[in-house]
């Protein structure tokens, strides 16, 4: 009993609750109580970060952290921290803190803030729950909660476009959720409770069951592919860009799409096992699908004039790098996919923050309006530049590291066609990002901006809006420059790969 109640059994649960409880209280906060709401928000975010810090250290030392709640006999809610969950938990918690600051600044004076921050906290709790889920049931539960908690955020603006975007979002994610549910129940009926175990649990199944296992994998992939925005299941993502900028930043660049990609990684490595998945021929399906999405997303991004929709298609493309990494058999490619989970997150959130700043400060929503923004908003544009160059894969920014490992892994596995995909994608990335940078820095600014706000600030915009992208841009540089330092994303991804392959 004493062991049951030890802190290692409470920590994962506490990490989920550290945002859920403040979130529940925020709903009750009166609209005009800015201070109380801000305190609750920051309190939750900082507590969570402290708890996650403890978790990182514990997992690094090989500790076992597991919270278990029996819902009913045979149905357990399990939160279990392994190296892979820590990667995603840390990403979400750090970026949540940054985004909370950004959102408080961004939504100043706008209505329904208690509702917004309440659901925002629930979303982060759900994301962390997905990261820490120790079995398929728990994963499904948090995956659906994430859908539900994001819906009000997409619909938040209340305009007809927002309502429409939210409806489309819901239709896609509900459909995906049901596919995931059926797959999960089917697997549960075949094998009993499906706990996530490094190295996979299914390789011992009788070969007569293999056709069923393939069908289940496809169902799960269908369910996860919606959130991971695999073509043609990506339709909701550009539509969801009607949401306020903090939502697009954290949820549609990090939490929601990553939940799908993370789920794919979980299923491949910790349910099927990467070797067994390769043996069933599932990896090649995943690899081709991811590659198609990478190219398709980039091509679509080329033609978008809306800045946020261009970034959204870029997300479609970039998230599939993670799935691509998972589809190549070999530890180096695994490292590339895993590390991109973090790198894409920090780069894309920087870009979305900047897009929000342009919209809030200058009223600039379109690429065609971006002439000369670099002179008016140099710091924001500098952060944008770092993010964009990182996405293209220019050293020493984080994105380069991901692409390097993915390419190396493909060569190691003898799958040279992946290099072509990477090269094509890099060219396309350059094709849709470099013109923006050129316009921003080298074209003369217009006589008047579409809708300019003057903030009482020493800087180009409000401090709460400026610092978050500058900080995350710094992360992008640090993650690339110090990739070999201990506890860098790359080192941690290497740790995961070692444990997954039992090296």
């Amino acid at each position: 009993m004493s062991q049951m109640l030890s802190w290692t059994a409470l920590l994962p649960g506490a990490i989920v609750l550290s945002s859920m409880l403040p979130g529940a209280f925020i709903f009750l906060v009166k609209e005009e109580s800015h201070v109380l709401r801000g305190v609750l928000n920051m309190f939750g975010a900082i507590i969570k970060l402290v708890l996650v810090g403890t978790l990182i250290w514990g997992v690094f030392l090989g500790g076992v952290f597991e919270s278990r709640l029996t819902i009913a006999p045979g149905l357990d809610l399990v939160l279990h921290a392994d190296a892979l969950s820590v990667l995603f938990v840390t990403l979400s918690s750090v970026l949540w803190l940054v985004t909370t600051v950004y959102a408080i600044g961004y939504l100043e004076h706008s209505p329904n803030r208690s509702r917004f921050f309440g659901f925002f906290s629930l979303c982060v709790s759900a994301t962390v729950g997905i990261a820490l889920a120790g079995n398929l049931l728990t994963f499904v539960i948090f995956y659906e909660i994430l859908t539900l908690a994001t819906y009000p955020l997409v619909a938040h603006r209340g305009t007809p476009e927002a309502t429409r975007g939210a409806k489309i979002y819901l239709a896609y994610t509900m459909g995906g959720g049901v596919a995931l549910l059926v797959g999960a129940v089917w697997l549960r009926a075949l094998t009993g409770p499906v706990d996530f175990v490094e190295g996979g649990v299914l390789s011992g199944m009788a070969s007569t069951l293999h056709p069923q296992l393939i069908a289940i994998f496809l169902l799960l992939l269908l369910g996860l592919g919606v959130k991971a925005a695999l073509v043609p299941l990506h339709g909701w993502l550009p539509q969801s860009m009607v949401a306020p900028a903090p939502v697009s930043s954290l949820l549609h660049a990090v939490a929601v799409v990553k939940a799908g990609a993370f789920g794919i990684v979980r299923v491949v490595y910790d349910v099927y096992g990467v070797d067994f998945a390769a043996e069933l021929g599932l990896l090649i399906i995943l690899g081709v699908w991811a590659s198609l999405t990478i190219v398709y997303g980039s091509v679509k991004a080329l033609t978008q004039d809306g800045l946020k929709t261009r970034l959204a298609y870029s997300t479609v493309s970039q998230v599939s790098y993670i799935a691509l990494g998972a589809s190549i058999l070999g530890p180096v490619a695994t490292i590339g996919g895993m590390v991109h989970l973090v790198h894409q997150g920090i780069m894309k959130i920087t870009l979305f923050f900047c897009a929000g700043n342009y919209a809030e400060t200058l009223g600039v929503h379109k690429v065609s309006q971006m002439d000369g923004v670099g002179r008016r908003m140099p710091w924001t544009t500098l952060a944008f530049t770092v993010g964009a160059l990182g996405m293209i894969g220019i050293p020493p920014i984080a994105g380069f590291v991901s692409k390097w490992y993915l390419g190396l892994g493909a060569v190691e596995a003898g799958q040279h066609w992946v290099l072509l995909v990477l090269a094509a994608s890099t060219l396309l990335n350059a094709g849709y990002f470099l013109p923006i940078l050129y316009k921003a820095w080298f074209r003369p600014p217009p006589d008047a901006w579409p809708n300019e706000h003057r903030f009482e600030s020493r800087f180009e915009t409000m401090g709460a809006l400026l610092w978050p992208p500058v900080i995350t841009a710094a992360f992008c540089l640090i993650a690339g420059l110090l990739a070999a330092a201990p506890f860098s994303p790359l080192e941690w991804a290497t740790l995961i790969a070692r444990r997954e392959y039992g090296l």
Binding site: F27, E31, P73, I141, G158, T163, V182, A189
Partner: protein, 481 residues
Amino acid sequence: MADLLILPVLVPLLGGLLATALPVRSALVGTLAALATSLSGLSITLLVWLHGDLGTVLGGWGVPLGIGLSADGLSAALLAMASLVALAISIYAGSYFAGSAQARHFWPLWLLLWSALNGVFLAADLFNLYVMLELLGLSAAALGALTGKREAIAANLRYLLVGLLGSLTYLLGVALLYTAYGTLDIGLLGERLGPTPIAATALALMVSGLALKTALFPLHFWLPPAHANAPAPVSAALSALVVKASFYLILRLWTELFAPITDIGAATLLGLLGAGAVLWGSWRALRAQRLKLLAAYSTVAQIGYLFLFFPLLASLPPGTARDDLFAACVLMALTHGFAKAGFFLAAGLVQQKAGHDRISELGGVAQRMPATTFSIALAGSALVGLPPSGSFIGKWVLMRGAFETGQWWWLPVTVLGTLLAAAYVFRVLSRAFGLEPTPLQFVTNARTEIPALLLAFASVALLGLAAGPVWAVLGFGAAPA
């Protein structure tokens, strides 16, 4: 200790008489009686949980003659749900009817209904069950017509006649059994019953009578108008509790009394009707123009889910897998009780505030009442079966059972029903995000909003994350790890 069994029936009955005698103080008397009834119901549940089945015979006569009461896990589970839901409805009703002439009629009838409901859950012989069912039907129809509006009276007159037809069909079956076996006590009958044509006929009569009363598709035609036109607390009671009474009886008779003669074929027939209910009810809910009509059709669909369990139960041998399915079926019934009551209570507040319940025009009101909208959202997600709600767990076990027994054809029904339910729930919720003026605080009227919110919350967090007690009350031990 077993003598306490009479309390959940007696207390509301006395309370109802007192409320009739003191019409001016009926709200106070009614609320106190509701509290006492709820406590007595919960203590019976607690006793069953701790000590196992209870039974008693009133008046000192032996079993074949006296009025027998008994409580096992199944009755206790439903009794607990009814006690909590009815208490919340009572508190809500105190404020909902405040200052209205309807209050005087409401309390006596409501307490009578509650007494009859508890009587159904606790009665140990088939004839007493008939009496309780009849009382339940009469008081329910009277309550449903409380507003005195023309469409309410028409709908509830039909409800009354349908209810009478249902109970008489049931009574016919009871009479057949009595002539053949000479007893009405469920326990004694269970020992004597064999696979005879008389028993089969009695089963068919009793189950179809009860199916009519529980509104199993295609016998559901009377439910939507009756439930949609009643005052909100009554709608909640009708949808959450009253239809559960007849469902409880079907479940009990099917799995206990008639277990020797029910086979997979008959169970599949019930399952098919359930599937029809899920699809048709959800579809009609999606098409409904009014919030309360939507909720009523959703009840038709939710009752359908409960019948999907029958063919799966029939094809499994006694054991953990069957116990899990049985418990999941009860869990879904309980969750629906909490969720639908919460949904109707919240819908009633919306209707009061807006003066109507046309879904397409509810935007502003939904936005001005955050707590109420939140209740609808929580209860709605339990109706869809989204996690973490009791019905998610129920559906998970249901689908697992479908895979394990090879009856995969129930899966598309469940999946389609879930998607349709999501569509109708979010059709309502999408109205809550508009450009209308925004609220300054979460709760505006605690006495009506909190009961609805608590009910909705219970259907999600309580039954979804801690469903273990349902297994425990039903006497199913923890499965081996």
